[in-house]
Amino acid sequence: MSVWHAIAAAALFAAAPALLAGEIPPDARRSGYSFMGPDTRAMQDDDTSNPGMLFVLDGQSLWTKKSGSAEKACADCHGDARSSMKGVAARYPAFDNALSRPVTLDQRINLCRATHQQASPLPYESRDLLALSAFVAHQSRGVAITAGDDPQAKPFVAQGRDLFMQREGQLNLACTNCHDDNFDKHLAGAPITQGQPTGYPLYRLEWQTLGSLERRLRSCMSGVRAQAYDYGSPELVALELYLMSRARGLPMETPAVRP
């Protein structure tokens, strides 16, 4: 190894946050894509056969459509999303200074609607909200995830980690029991993934539509027979933030396709 390599490696090591017990080291982190079969991969790889792109297209038209009593479109403030939104979704959920808590991309869109567009909020999992968040997140495709790096977000990352480690439901399982300890094994017919949220909102073949990470988390909770947290609840936002920070360095894939 050359001296320069050694220095670069040492610098990387110093910059990387210390890993907690049971966590997946950065070089072993894998997108759900790597757990899928060739047919599902092919569906994601080609934009003209990826059904998630239908939502991205819808989001593109919503981006320039005036909305609310302010008669403003997203584009009136943010301009060309290809430059203004590049990398944004890779940093979400992000800390909001006014609210003193992290907000998800969906919540940011609705905050924008309330304050700048004077428009009513779009319901969670509604087609328009999914389309807008897919369009925004698509601009970050290939960008490495850095959510949770903001020091102000740290307590909320820790809260999310606690929830991830906490057993719950009638099956008394924590997220970590499957997604840290048993990935690559199978549950019923399906492979257990690491639960890296690299491609949300994503097109799930089971749903036959696009859905948010919160929808996925809620169905995991039903799976272990636990009471699912409400959409937008502080617990779900904290979990989403922890999961994104846990996927640090993985490239965004929105809109991903998953079984």
């Binding site: 047919d39 019923a188 073949l205």
Partner: protein
């Protein structure tokens, strides 16, 4: 033919109700092979169906039955005199046996169609091609549908 769980349950119910004679009166929820056969005969009529010439590309084990990629191709020169007029795809156990009918012609150049289908259960998929000489050719494939562990409740 293996007995499906639903057939078994309705059979068992019949036994309970009528003692020794199993009477199955429930309309099956899934298409039965008889329904599949009727659906095929609705397209083919009384013509014989030969096996061969048709290729059915479908994963033998699918990750989710809600969206299964399928490609059907037929060995044909696709000329004015010798081409594929139509391709028909059927299933055995969905609530309805038809999946799709696809109409082509010599201008298609290649006798191949692809789509994505729903399979309610592990079952057989059948593809039939009608050629320009009005002969029918078929192929069948068995598909195992795995069920995801943590599916959402029906809403």
């Amino acid at each position: 033919m293996p007995t499906t769980r639903r057939q078994f349950l309705s059979l068992a119910g019949g036994v309970t109700a009528a003692g020794m004679i199993p009477i199955v009166t429930l309309r099956p929820l899934h298409a039965t092979p008889a329904m599949l056969n009727t659906a095929i005969r609705n397209v083919v009529g009384e013509a014989p169906i030969r096996t061969g010439r048709v290729k059915l590309d479908i994963p033998p084990l699918v990750e989710n039955g809600n969206t299964v990629p399928v490609t059907v191709s037929v060995a044909s020169p696709m000329t004015a005199d010798d081409h594929v007029k139509s391709i028909h795809i059927f299933n055995e156990k969905n609530p309805q046996p038809n999946i799709g009918n696809f109409y082509l012609g010599p201008s298609s150049g290649r006798a191949q169609v692809a789509t994505r289908i729903r399979l309610a259960d592990t079952q057989k998929v059948v593809a039939i091609a009608r050629l320009s000489d009005d002969t029918f050719w078929q192929v069948a494939a068995d598909v195992v549908v795995t069920l995801a562990a943590c599916t959402e409740e029906m809403n």
